[in-house]
Symmetry: C2
Subunit: 140 residues, 2 copies
């Protein structure tokens, strides 16, 4: 099995609320959307927002047991100075700041916010992980 994630799909309560956050708030552009799902092209992968009850049905999970995800999505930036403005933009878009950006024990600078469904996003500058021109990132 290739070491690759093709799609990350978040189960969300309301596409209207999610759209307001990701499209109006963060400025992302959908590639496709209908009444139950929104797809975004995200570099070489796809990011999807899908109504959580339908996502649960899709893999036959019980929507009632969906809790706060033990997961974090990371967004790495090229310059340390880009972290705070992105945290502020997310907050302005309605994100809850989980952890204000600070110096990290691994030598970088990062903070966390939660999207409207509580999914944690880390905005991080890592001096050893430089995003390439196309935005892709490599461990060295």
């Amino acid at each position: 099995m290739d070491q690759r994630i093709s799609v990350v799909t978040l189960g969300v309560k309301s596409l209207e609320i999610s759209r307001k956050f990701y499209v109006d708030g963060l400025g992302w552009t959908p590639a496709f959307e209908n009444e139950e799902i929104i797809f975004f092209q995200a570099g070489g992968m796809v990011f999807a927002l899908f109504l959580r009850d339908q996502l649960a049905a899709d893999f036959q999970a019980d929507p009632a047991t969906f809790g706060q995800a033990a997961i974090a999505l990371g967004h790495n930036v090229r310059e340390k100075g880009q972290v705070d403005p992105l945290m502020q933009r997310a907050a302005a878009a309605g994100a809850k700041i989980l952890k204000p950006a600070r110096e990290a024990p691994w030598g970088g600078y990062s903070g966390y916010f939660a999207d409207p469904d509580g999914f944690a996003w880390e905005i991080a500058w890592n001096p050893d992980w430089h995003p390439a021109t196309d935005g892709s990132i490599s461990i060295r």
Copy 2:
């Protein structure tokens, strides 16, 4: 904010169990690992397995409230015939089959399995989403 996810980090109970599944079972190769985290290069992004209590601490969440994630990770393949063997390989590696692969209402063929921590992975063939040579995927 660029439309990009740099890192997907799953909070896991035991790195030994996760390693057995992803490395020994699925055949993935770590790029870095220590006693609390394993990083994999996954195309232009990074996939991480991180001890869940430490992940919780990283974004100041309560580990006790972590539940089954309302999230799914997708792995798209080029040929319909690649889905069943990957599902079988995952099962052989210890995955729980959530939904055996079947024809999907959107015209493809897909199934779901859960990794040792219950994270849902969809193995999918979508006739409209062809992975490129480098494995990246684009919505058309």
